[in-house]
């Protein structure tokens, strides 16, 4: 039986259907999917639905004018767009931590990035979407046209209809290079203080944390800040693109992620920042997408796969909320190479958009038998401080926890019902978290 999975490699029955003509293919689709980089089950077919429509062959650019207005089919990858746009002096105004995502997926997740505190999410930069909605119509929506559909779709995890085309305003860049500074910080208070102070002065910030360190060094890490380099600051030649150069050919054995090995990696990564502070010019790829150089790095988490827990801790909760999450991780010995803090700015208008003012903390976790319990404890900590999780990363949150942390859900579901009263568009995640019935489960009463 064919199986399909997200980036976390938690497989479910189903197959991908590819088409170069999304408009025709979406006529009978129940869910669309891009490059499959959402970690959990948001791009997986709902139980009882045999397939998901994959958009990656529908990747035509329909307009890219001198003012930076881009319109493209939903399957266009950010990787392709970056290569093209940087040559022309533009860059996507908001980018997530990988460029192996599609425009449609970016909208459905309302992605954010290292510049959220100044640029917001991708939704802020969208001009319009072309969609096929549940009753079969194709229509244009925007902040002024069918605005309810538009803002429910931005961050709506593909549950409001099929995104066929995306139009957004690109950002003009002064050069194709990034000026970056990196500073080492010995504990959480120092790191978070520097992150918040850095965000006041820099357009791009992110911090890596050694999340297995206990005691006074808990939360030690490296802060990266950056901005687009001015003309003449970087090399005269454009950067070379290196994504996917290092392959991971097979699943790593489970012992590879033993806590001792992760501690060793984290020790080495922390101390590779030999000086307390370094500065220099780096490529956008090295700055925005450091993991993309390794192809299929998710195989490194072994047969069990991985999940990511990403939550935003509201600003008023301060370092206490972040510290509590780190304590839970160290108590559970939930080994992870990747633990990232980001400063989030104002909340966007997407009805289920993830970011809100505060600190986002993202942790990759290998999936083992105890992982759902670890996620539950992390979510209880998030609930205590009034935070919320990022659906794009989620696989194990319970519906009770999700509803408790998402007071916006009922308003979203109301708009969704207006456009899709019979819930034609469903995902494995919407069945798990939103209470959607599986396909073929009997009569549906909206």
């Amino acid at each position: 039986m064919p199986r399909v999975a997200g980036w976390g490699r938690q497989f479910v029955p189903g197959r991908e259907r590819f088409s170069e003509n999304l408009e025709a293919a979406s006529a009978d689709a129940h869910l669309l999917r891009g490059l499959g980089r959402s970690y959990g089950d948001s791009s997986l077919p709902a139980p009882g639905c045999p397939e998901v429509l994959t958009t990656t062959l529908a990747d035509r650019i329909l307009r890219f004018d001198d003012a930076g207005v881009l319109r493209a089919e939903a399957g266009l990858s950010l990787h392709t767009l970056n290569r093209l746009s940087l040559q022309r002096g533009f860059f996507v105004p908001v980018t997530p931590g990988t460029q192996f995502v599609t425009l449609g997926g970016m909208v459905a997740s309302d992605v954010h990035g290292k510049h959220h505190h100044v640029a917001g999410t991708i939704g802020r930069h969208l001009r319009a979407l072309r969609m096929r909605v549940a009753d079969g119509r194709t229509l244009e929506c925007s902040p002024t046209e069918h605005a309810d559909l538009f803002w429910a779709t931005v961050g709506g995890m593909g549950l409001t209809g099929a995104i066929l085309e995306v139009e957004l305003q690109m950002e003009r860049t002064p050069s194709p290079w990034i000026y970056q500074e990196a500073t080492r910080h010995p504990d959480l208070d120092s790191l978070m203080g520097a992150l918040i102070e850095g965000s006041a002065r820099w357009p791009m910030t992110v911090a890596w944390i050694d999340c297995l360190k206990r005691g006074p060094s808990m939360g030690r890490g490296i802060l990266y800040v950056g901005r687009w380099a001015e003309p003449g600051e970087g090399p005269a030649t454009p950067p070379r693109w290196t994504s996917g150069r290092i392959p991971v050919p097979f699943e790593a054995p489970d012992w590879a992620l033993a806590p001792t090995n992760v501690r060793l990696f984290n020790f080495a990564y922390y101390h590779k920042q030999f000086r307390q502070k370094t500065a220099g010019i780096v490529s956008p790829e090295a700055f925005f997408y450091p993991l993309d150089i390794v192809d299929n790095w998710n195989l490194g988490y072994g047969r069990g796969g991985l999940t990511q827990h990403q939550a935003v801790v509201p600003r008023e909760a301060g370092a206490t909320g972040v510290r509590r999450i780190l304590e839970l991780l160290t108590e559970a010995s939930a080994a992870s190479f990747l633990c990232v803090l980001k400063d989030c700015g104002e909340e966007g208008e997407g009805m289920l958009s993830f970011p809100r003012p505060g600190i986002s903390i993202a942790i990759d976790l290998p999936v083992r038998s105890g992982t759902p319990a670890v996620i539950a404890r992390l979510n209880e900590a998030v609930l205590e401080v009034g935070g919320r999780i990022y659906l794009t990363k989620d696989q194990f949150t319970t519906p009770e926890h999700f509803r408790a942390m998402e007071p916006r859900l009922s308003a979203f579901l109301e708009v969704r019902r207006r456009w899709d009263p019979e819930l034609r568009f469903r995902s494995a995640q919407s069945v798990r978290l939103f209470g959607d019935p599986p396909f073929g489960s009997g009569e549906f009463h909206p």
Binding site: R17, E20, R60, L62, F64, L84, R88
Partner: protein, 246 residues
């Protein structure tokens, strides 16, 4: 280079047209669906960052032989002469269902064999005065009679045979002919088919075809491994081919 492209809107044709446009070649697009051609032209212009990479587009259908001459004449006028004609269009269908559907079989044979060859005959008259290049996508399916692809393979075998023949016949007069033999490539055309080893991606095939065009080669397999695979398959004795399922 001035290129007439029949089939640029999908799969390997789309990938090859993008490479040609991005290096600055001038294209005239031919196809059945005007709206698809418009979107394809917009994509090529956006990727190349120049409007003049696509000088025009016109209607042409491999099942309508009367459309060939006016389409090529319009392309010749718009481009001011044709240096290369690329044909990636065709009809793909395999399996037992095809044997039971004679209408589809006829359409496939008409498009892949009669239509493509007649189109090439028209194209040849435009290419010969400029020592131009004819690039036609045939298939590894034409290299050996095989169970699952009897009809599709027959159409491509005939096409490959024709392309080799006109290469022999007109090479001395300056015509360069490139027969492209793709193996299994992940495109909209092959979705749902069981994937064999050495499956390729359209972008990789396009890069290999472009290199072969520039080198003036007569035949190219893509991905490259399929040259070896088909060499082995051609050597297999008939009693083996009767037993195996590929």
């Amino acid at each position: 280079m001035n290129v007439v492209f029949l089939g640029a809107s999908r799969g390997m044709g789309r990938a090859l047209a993008r490479l040609l446009a991005m290096r600055g070649d001038r294209l005239f697009l031919l196809g059945r669906d005007g709206e698809e051609l418009e979107r394809c032209a917009a994509d090529l212009r956006a990727r190349a960052g120049r409007d003049d990479v696509v000088v025009g587009q016109g209607a042409c259908d491999l099942l309508d032989t009367a459309s060939f001459a006016p389409a090529l004449a319009a392309a010749n006028d718009a481009l001011g002469g044709i240096d290369a004609v690329v044909v990636t269009a065709g009809v793909f269908a395999v399996g037992d269902a095809l044997h039971a559907d004679l209408a589809l079989t006829e359409r496939m044979l008409q498009a892949n064999f009669t239509g493509t060859i007649l189109f090439c005959e028209h194209a040849r008259t435009h290419l010969l005065p400029r020592s131009g290049q004819l690039v036609v996508f045939s298939s590894v399916a034409g290299d050996r009679g095989r169970k699952p692809i009897a009809l599709y393979g027959a159409s491509k075998a005939g096409l490959s045979h024709y392309l080799e023949s006109i290469d022999h016949r007109f090479h001395a007069e300056g015509l360069r002919v490139l027969t492209v033999k793709p193996g299994f490539v992940r495109t909209g055309m092959t979705v749902g088919l069981p994937e064999p080893p050495f499956a390729g991606e359209p972008d990789g095939v396009a890069r290999r075809v472009l290199a072969a065009m520039d080198a003036g080669k007569p035949v190219v397999y893509a991905p490259a491994m399929w040259a070896l695979v088909m060499w082995v398959i051609r050597l297999l004795p008939r009693f083996v081919m009767r037993r195996v399922g590929f």
